[in-house]
């Protein structure tokens, strides 16, 4: 044995696994990737457009997670697509295509590594942003756990967006490609939303859609009943298929690699197109389920139709107001708003013994969605629906409580004292603290007189005369 043979270190290349070279290439790409430098801009955009808007919504997992899905993806669309296009066209821009073509590594493999680096940085940024939003929501939410499907759809969108930009940049390497494909993709996503008309639209496969498009951020969804994963599953299949198809296209040109590699790329492209097309077809078979989510028959699990068990949170009062624990933040305000009415009618015939929150029911009709809240009394339980469970502008907790007092309070009083006669109107006005008729009218004066009574005297008079009052046998003059 020679000295050289004894002391020479083994050649590193001889011991390296094939994947080690790819790992080294990935590390290089990660260090010099444009997406890394875009992350601060993405962070600012996420904070300004998605985080602030989402955190302004009530601390409920369904509302925040479903709202976050669309806005977070929208933030990432132009940045990820643009960065990926820029990365893909960089090779041609520097005139290195021929030089790199002479290296042993196939072009497709190099491109996949560059795509993986872009996607990796985008995913890292997304996870940090969404992680922060979920962590704060976890501290604020009164009930339930994180909804992972919206976050997963956002995460699955990034490889697809990156693949879209990368393919465009590789096929059309030009200085103008990154902004054109970034803005163009945003326009396409926006245009696709315009095409959604009903729960059976195939365009719902767009990852920006988190639920029935016409409903927006409705608190009534996915609280009393489960969040249906049918549409997210279809979206996930679509995104995976789209990613595979786009990455496969990169491997089709003659200079992408050998025959075996191009054959594999063709197979991946075909499989991706089939998966994406199949997912869009599945989304087109969706229907609005009675609880407001999109159900896709081929993907639907009947177990998801069962209501979610919960223990209601009730106010400590003679007539308790009980809400779903997800709405715990509303309880003090709503109970306080109804307390004057409930204290007044407590114990009277036909007065409710308890106020319960009901789930909303959804039905598609024409181009829109009807939302019904089963309100009213049954067996001593009066069922209410909070305004934010219904479509329309989101109300603050105080606004919601005011609306409940106006609507539910008057309904409860009417159900106890009746409606129609002057005496009934005067008593109702006195209990609700509202003016009835013109100032100085007979009904208004009677209401003022009745409301001026001590609480106990008023309640005692009602207990003694409510049957006659409801039957219309009490006149204004007979009111104390």
């Amino acid at each position: 044995m020679t000295v050289t043979a004894e002391t020479a270190p083994p050649r590193p290349a001889a011991r390296r696994l094939p994947l080690a070279a790819a790992g080294r290439l990935l590390r290089l790409e990660l260090r010099r990737n444009a997406m890394l430098w875009l992350l601060p801009a993405v962070g600012v955009l996420f904070w300004y457009l998605a985080y602030r808007r989402t955190m302004a919504l009530p601390p409920m997992w369904n509302v925040r997670a479903m709202s976050m899905q669309g806005t977070a993806i929208a933030v990432f669309i132009p940045t990820v697509v643009g960065a990926a296009a820029w990365t893909a066209s960089r090779e041609a821009g520097r005139g290195l295509t021929e030089l790199l073509g002479a290296t042993p590594r196939p072009r497709w493999a190099r491109q996949l590594v560059a795509w993986a680096a872009t996607t990796g940085w985008a995913l890292a940024g997304y996870l940090v942003c969404v992680g922060a939003l979920y962590a704060i929501t976890a501290r604020q939410a009164a009930w339930g756990g994180p909804l992972w499907w919206p976050a997963a759809i956002g995460a699955a969108s990034l490889p697809a967006l990156s693949a879209l930009g990368f393919t465009a940049g590789a096929l059309l390497p030009s200085r103008f490609t990154p902004p054109m494909v970034a803005v163009g993709t945003f326009v396409l996503f926006e245009a696709s939303l315009q095409l959604i008309h009903g729960a059976d639209s195939a365009w719902q496969v767009s990852p920006l859609v988190a639920g029935p498009w016409q409903l927006g951020n409705s608190e009534g969804l996915a609280t009393f009943y489960r969040y249906l994963p049918d549409l997210p599953i279809a979206q996930l299949i679509f995104l995976v298929g789209l990613t595979a198809a786009l990455l496969g296209v990169l491997g089709l040109p003659a200079d992408a690699g050998g025959r075996w590699l191009r054959g594999s790329a063709s197979a991946v492209t075909a499989a991706g197109i089939l998966a994406a097309g199949g997912a869009a077809t599945l989304a087109g078979t969706g229907r609005l389920d009675p609880h407001g989510m999109i159900a896709i028959p081929a993907l639907h699990d009947g177990a998801d139709d069962r209501p979610v068990p919960y223990t209601p949170m009730c106010s400590p009062a003679a007539v308790p107001v009980c809400l779903h624990p997800a709405y715990a933040a509303y309880l003090p305000a709503v109970a306080g708003a109804l307390a004057p009415v409930l204290d007044e009618v407590a114990g009277l015939p036909d007065a409710p013994t308890r106020i319960d929150q009901a789930a909303t029911m959804y039905r598609e009709r024409g181009g829109g969605i009807d939302v019904d809240g089963p309100t009213g009394a049954a067996n001593g339980v009066y069922r209410i629906v909070l305004p934010n469970q219904l479509p329309g502008p989101n109300m603050t907790i105080a606004e919601s409580a005011d609306t409940v007092r106006t609507n539910t309070g008057s309904d409860i009083v009417a159900s106890v004292v009746g409606t129609g006669s002057d005496a009934q109107r005067a008593v109702t006005a006195a209990i609700l603290g509202a003016s009835d008729g013109a100032s100085g009218s007979a009904v208004g004066l009677a209401a003022q007189r009745f409301s001026a009574l001590p609480d106990t005297a008023r309640h005692a008079w009602l207990a003694a005369h409510v049957t006659d009052l409801r039957a219309g046998r009490i006149t204004l003059e007979q009111l104390p």
Binding site: A41, V44, V75, T79, G82, W86, A92, P173, P178, F186
Partner: protein
């Protein structure tokens, strides 16, 4: 060879025309013009479609952004440092080219509004284009020509959100986010104009930043 033939190129009266032609070619100005016309054409076609209120307001901003990105990217020089020492025409060429591209984009976008319902009309489109172009030019001066699209694209997202906030509140009313302001808002026009002027000044004096690691041509 005579003395006349050996004179430097910039000295002859007919030479600047050739210089201009070469400068425009080096900045891919013909392609930029074609892309701008294509953007305006697609916008014109899209405006014939039925959009909801969000889409109708946001759509022009997206195409204005695309045109602004093209103008900003066209500032990228393929020659880098050597070009800076070649003569005194460079600031004028940069200003003239950028100004001409902006004017062409403004005309194209205004033309897209003919016979369609362009939200805000041509004045709003020109104001937004000017402001976005200013952002792109500043980005080109700071980040380099190939990355100049980042600024207008990020601003586009803020503008889209500001337009959305007009319905869902709280409405964003600062004139610095001019796409969400009415056409006759003087403050928004001044802000957009200031940004455009700053961008033009930066490009005229410094040009797009030379990038050690250039992107695509």
């Amino acid at each position: 060879m005579t003395a006349t033939e050996a004179r430097p190129a910039a000295a002859g009266p007919g030479i600047p025309r050739r210089l201009i032609r070469l400068y425009l070619a080096s900045r891919r100005v013909p392609t930029a013009m074609a892309v701008q016309v294509a953007c305006a054409l697609v916008l014109w076609i899209a405006l014939h479609w039925s959009w909801d209120a969000y889409g109708a307001l946001q759509l022009p901003l997206l195409f204005e952004t695309a045109c602004a990105c093209v103008i900003a990217i066209a500032t990228m020089s393929p020659f880098g440092e050597p070009e800076h020492v070649t003569g005194r025409w460079l600031p004028w060429l940069r200003t003239g080219t950028t100004g001409a591209l902006t004017a062409a984009a403004a005309v194209a976008l205004a033309a897209a509004g003919i016979g369609t319902d362009l939200a805000g009309g041509a004045p709003s489109a020109v104001r937004n284009l000017a402001g976005l172009t200013g952002i792109g030019l500043l980005c080109a001066a700071i980040l380099g020509g190939t990355l100049a699209w980042i600024g207008p694209t990020v601003y586009m997202m803020i503008g889209v959100y500001a337009l959305y906030s007009q319905w869902h509140g709280p409405a964003i009313t600062t004139p610095w986010i001019w796409p969400a302001r009415p056409t006759d808002d003087l403050g928004a026009a001044i802000c957009a104009g200031l940004v455009f002027a700053a961008g033009m000044a930066a490009i005229a004096l410094r040009g797009a930043r030379d990038e050690a690691r250039r992107g695509p041509e």
